[in-house]
């Protein structure tokens, strides 16, 4: 049990160091995901199985998907094809795969050794956590919900594509442009010669 803890911690630290030294953002993201999974294994060994599941689902699942989306959105253009060609040897997968294999071996060992999280000394049940969370920390839960709402609105507001030149956008409201576009009903035809009956 102690050995698995230290091995998972070592994997987390190594993956973090490798993440910081990568030049390619996607490779760094791979190592970051491995680091988060290693931290999840550490949580599992420490007796917090629920927190370990949350770590995998939210951190390695949701937040990393956001990162990958933004990295893919930013790498548009001709450079992408070049990078794709450079990824073809797929040597970049070897490092994260090796570290993840170590974690998988640990997890299989922990599960087959028959020591579930309930048997681990010092484990805190999810029931206890929920009772404390919705008891003394109820104000914190409400504040977290407000924070999530603020984050949602802020991300939506900031994520919009800003108009390139605002004067161009509102320039269509001037009379000349509208007359040229034929959309002005008030001054329509005022520049034509008056029709003689």
């Amino acid at each position: 049990m102690e050995a698995t803890f230290y091995i998972a911690s070592a994997v987390a630290v190594i993956a973090t160091v490798l993440m910081l030294t990568r030049l390619n953002a996607v490779h760094a993201l791979l190592y970051l995901i491995v680091s988060l999974l290693a931290v999840a294994v550490v949580f599992f060994v420490a007796g917090a199985a629920f927190i370990a599941a949350l770590e995998v689902i939210i951190y390695a699942g949701a937040i990393m998907v956001l990162f990958v989306f933004v990295v893919m959105m930013l790498n548009l253009g001709l450079r992408t094809e070049e990078m794709e060609r450079r990824w073809q040897p797929s040597r970049a997968w070897i490092g994260p795969l090796a570290l993840a294999a170590v974690l998988l071996a640990e997890l299989v060992y922990l599960l087959t050794a028959g020591s579930g999280p309930a048997q681990i000394a010092g484990s805190v049940e999810p029931k206890q956590v929920s009772i404390v969370l919705f008891g003394p920390y109820l104000l914190g839960v409400e504040l977290a919900s407000m924070l999530l709402l603020a984050g949602l609105v802020g991300a939506y507001h900031l994520g919009r594509r800003a108009p390139e030149k605002p004067e161009d956008r509102y320039g269509a409201d001037s009379d000349e442009r509208r007359a040229a576009a034929g959309g002005d009903l008030v001054h329509a035809g005022s520049d034509r010669p008056a029709r003689t009956p």
């Binding site: 987390a12 993440m19 420490a46 927190i51 939210i58 949701a62 930013l74 010092g122 404390v132 969370l133």
Partner: protein, 87 residues
């Protein structure tokens, strides 16, 4: 691990890497909370980790939206480019 995240925050100039280092730092703080809670048999550590998780999700969404805006404006992911902002 917290120190590693701090080092990454200071060393790298790429905004994506700075945000990833922030994630590592938050994760390390949560790890410390959970391990301490497991050590003293208290549930408070895991509760605080849940709050940290929520905050990290909100922070990352806003941060990535900011990165997109900066990229559209400066066509670069350099943190020094943002120092030329005026007004």
């Amino acid at each position: 691990m917290f120190t590693l995240g701090l080092i990454g925050l200071l060393v790298r100039r790429n905004l994506i890497f700075i945000l990833m280092s922030l994630e590592v730092m938050l994760n390390a703080a949560g790890l410390a909370f959970v391990i301490a809670g497991s050590r003293w048999h208290q549930a408070d550590g895991q509760v605080v980790f849940l709050f940290i998780l929520t905050m990290a999700a909100a922070e990352v969404s806003v941060g990535l939206a900011l990165i997109l805006q900066l990229y559209h404006r400066f066509k670069a992911l350099d943190a020094d480019a943002a120092s030329e902002m005026r007004g």
